[in-house]
Subunit: 327 residues, 4 copies
């Protein structure tokens, strides 16, 4: 590998994960102090992601960030509050209510200020509530206009802070506007600002029948726009937010190859929901999978892989990977 | 139609629907009194479903049921508490912890007692937490043994109360043991008790790439085992719990035809999560879709449909349905 | 409707449809004369699509086109030979073999010449063989470069002939490069030629979990790039190429609304594979579904729909559509 | 491993694989002699599967079988002709045409005779054409009756020959009656004959969102009914018939564990469509993946895995597998 890997995790992985059936979470609620203590137990962890509305509120943000840095961790990402309260039910940047739209944009700008102060870069707005559930519910053109305008407004507010837009095809809406790698790049190109790129959640890519490696490659081709990376895994039909590597071994290997080839040097940040697992052990597992897969890649040899790709012979590639993996 | 249709709804459709992002729900919390008042505003509604752990607790159950009947509604279904608290995270009937297994079975039996007292029939255990998320996590054979034994124990406890097992392929687990119509019927045959059948959630059927009408037909063929019906709709990859009829118009029409043909005479019960909608209006919409689709069926004529099915010519069937629908 | 609808169909719909199991087709092979005679039996049909390699060969192309126009039909579309012979197995525009790449580009140019001569516009290259099946098989960046360069070369060859790129997420490759509406628009923007747009196959859109109406709207927003339309339906997981309207009634209604709103004035062209059906009756069914759905839209009123969309209230929209549909 | 693994392959893997676009196949047609010669180049191959209608016809069957055995291979499976000609388009065992139904049943019986003569056991009918494409096209109850009756008739014809029914959820029909593991076991139980079991195609299991290991376990639980095994892999949404192991590494590992635990001792038979690959190398790759995965399992230790499963702790299981795989 050309780069040293920096591992990070969302704070929620160490807390109590809830779903729509068990609203109190599958384990007891934890204070932020307990979450930080848990995070510190993960040997390779250097950074932690903070979510607006969950760990960060209007009043506590600076204090929370300070506690992270005091603990010896970095704030790897600030995720603006655009999707974790009822207010955004009908959209954030695309809401019909002008006041809500403005609040959403303001929330991103505030996150950018926090990021700048704390040295965290980028921030990652996720337009999860911006979409629709039913037919005849949305004006698709107007909605795109609003997202484009809103992102431009944020990008120009603090050009030195990067914005990594996260895309996802569904959930919490049945259809989200910024749903695929194609649409995400389209947004980035339309916004056309140097500080706007993409946060690739590999589970979201899988959920859209994307090959994660291909999505990384496209971000490289269209302007070197991979700004951040969310790691997890799933069974391809839903954002199961499982331990990364646990399902798609070969595709994850190819992802790592392309991250290396395209010289990605941002965070490797776990975004998992270990509902029924111990968070510390789940995060360690995810990191160990990645470290192990990198060992496999190095054993095979980056040059050998590049040669196989250039040849384009599937069985030869298969043999190369198989011999390196199944020793 | 041979039968008058009895419409029912889950109580949660009138409350505040939450998901894993907006844990407080997309609308303000409602008291049970407010929920009942909302339900009373739906003209065609005759019954209401109560969920253990949400509307029914150990201490309030009889009082809640009395309030329903006092309001002029019937309790159409009691759903035992097997999936709405952290306790069941690693399974209810299949948990490795013997005490949890016993509690789960006891909960179903208590629901059966309540059902018997209140004249509600059947109860509907849903084994949503009984499954697994990862490979190498479950003993599939032992788990099936435990479910079979547990259901037999319940069935024999009060043979005059019906048990309608609800199946679902995933969520909250990535894989649930009783996941498809085939597995549900297999369970019913293995249990082999007259009072055990199936609660068909049509969204769950869609999520498993089932044709809902075919699933109804199979339940008829294998012992007349359709005991209850949950109505909703989705985009086929997830249990979106949308207003029924809003997506799959033709398949819902065929479902209604087969419900009529197989002489289903149970409840037509809406199980929807109108996260961002007004619950009263959403339930009314669902009922009106069904009433409208029944009008279409009657206009086409049950005998004409039967003839078309027997002929098996897809374009003729299409023309028959199209002419009846798009007048 | 603002526009008169022009209906067209692929020639293959009247021929013998084969799959990988029944390679001789599910009905007897038909001569092109028989195909044309069948097409003439469809009252509303004005155009026919011709596929390179199937109906059009190097030697017969002008003669075949003449026979179509002699029969009173128009050639609605010429589809270049890029995917129907073994030669393209490892790609057309993206093949590693430079000669194959050149042949592919030449084939598109020859189609453009034919289109120009015959007054047909646009031609529609489909990069179905340009993709990959396995991990570590493709250089994603190089492949995109090649498609972009190739399409530019074609676009500049005859700027007065339109090129409508068709996208599809999978089949015949497990992953196709130009797979989604986002990627298709990205390609069009990258190519940046006035005569390059998109052929939207609504079944391909469904297969990518797209809402067809949204895809139409995006093509409007990003440069009015909807050049052609392929009609069919499927169960959302595969390109079943069924009679349009037979599965997704409401989504097809919304599609028609947006086609009208965005003033699409191209062909409504059926691209179906009636493997086991009579082709003439299947095409008639498809056209009648569309005509019926337009009647429903007109009954509801375009202005009323626009108001509902602007309001963004899902239950109100549902009621509006339901009352217009289920009378 | 308790058992020596016997590898087999379908003959088609060495021939020319076609799809609905490239009907002549992606490589030149091969004579049966050439197919056999190719098969002999695979070091670990002991058996070959023959498909009625493709390799076996009414007149050549005995001769073809003799050529296989003369070549030193065994006939691992005879697949009756129920799905490879237009005749079966509207069904084989479930066709409305009584003569076609009878022909289908007779074809299975003839296959059973051939199997008995040649020492091959079992035969594997696949009801791929028995299903429906559109709503209102099928009488689901009557169709199941016909399949049950037909299979009983075959089973009783030669009780010493085993019948391994293969299930698949879709393709070539959009919906097949015997589509899932649940329905397959239901059929086997309804037929209730000692010589009737299941042919588990692991790609078909994946396509139905099944965990392959769980399907093996269920076949054990419900009467030890795993009679045959088809190996391949896919991306979970379609029967891509890829080289086994190339996508789902961990799930394939768990499959192998359960095959060993349940003492499966039948063939490990590759059923792949290497459209664009060299068949010999593709089959070798598949076998090498399996051999390598067995090595990994043995390194981890069957007892250690069993302990992990009994504990049911996902992160512990993950660590165990990871350490054995990623050394």
């Amino acid at each position: 590998m050309k780069q040293k890997i920096k591992f990070s995790s969302t704070a929620v992985a160490f807390g109590s994960c809830a779903d729509r059936y068990v609203l109190d979470g599958y384990s007891p609620q934890k204070s932020f102090k307990e979450i930080l203590e848990a995070a510190k137990k993960v040997p390779d962890l250097e950074g932690i992601e903070l979510i607006g509305g969950w760990q960060l509120t209007k009043t506590n943000a600076r204090q929370v960030i300070k506690r992270v840095t005091d603990s010896g961790l970095k704030v790897s990402m600030i995720i603006p509050e655009l999707w974790s309260s009822a207010k955004w039910g009908l959209g954030s940047f695309t809401a019909n209510d002008q006041k809500i739209r403005q609040d959403a944009i303001d929330n991103v700008k505030k996150s950018m200020e926090l990021a700048q102060e704390s040295g965290c870069n980028p921030v990652s707005p996720w337009f999860g509530q911006d979409g629709y559930d039913y037919c005849f519910q949305a004006d698709y053109i107007k909605s795109w206009d609003r997202i484009v305008e809103g992102v431009i407004s944020c990008a120009d507010y603090l050009p030195e802070v990067e914005i990594a837009v996260e895309y996802k095809i569904k959930e919490p809406r049945t259809h989200c506007f910024i749903g695929t790698i194609g649409k995400a790049i389209l947004l980035v190109k339309e916004v056309d600002r140097a500080n706007v790129g993409v946060n690739l959640d590999i589970g979201h890519a899988l959920e859209s029948y994307e090959n994660m490696a291909e999505s990384v490659a496209l971000l490289k081709r269209f302007g070197n726009k991979l700004f951040h990376l969310h790691l997890n895994d799933n069974y391809r039909l839903w954002d199961d937010d499982m331990i990364p590597g646990s399902v798609h071994t070969i595709e994850t290997l190819e992802l790592l190859y392309w991250l290396n080839k395209t010289e990605y040097n941002g965070w490797y940040s776990l975004d998992i929901f270990p509902y029924r697992e111990n968070g510390v052990r789940a995060v360690i597992e995810g990191i160990e999978w990645f470290k192990g897969l990198f060992r496999v890649l190095n054993r095979i040899g980056m040059d050998n892989i590049e040669k196989a790709i250039q040849e384009g012979d599937a069985t030869k590639s298969s043999a190369l990977i198989r011999k390196g993996l199944l020793i």
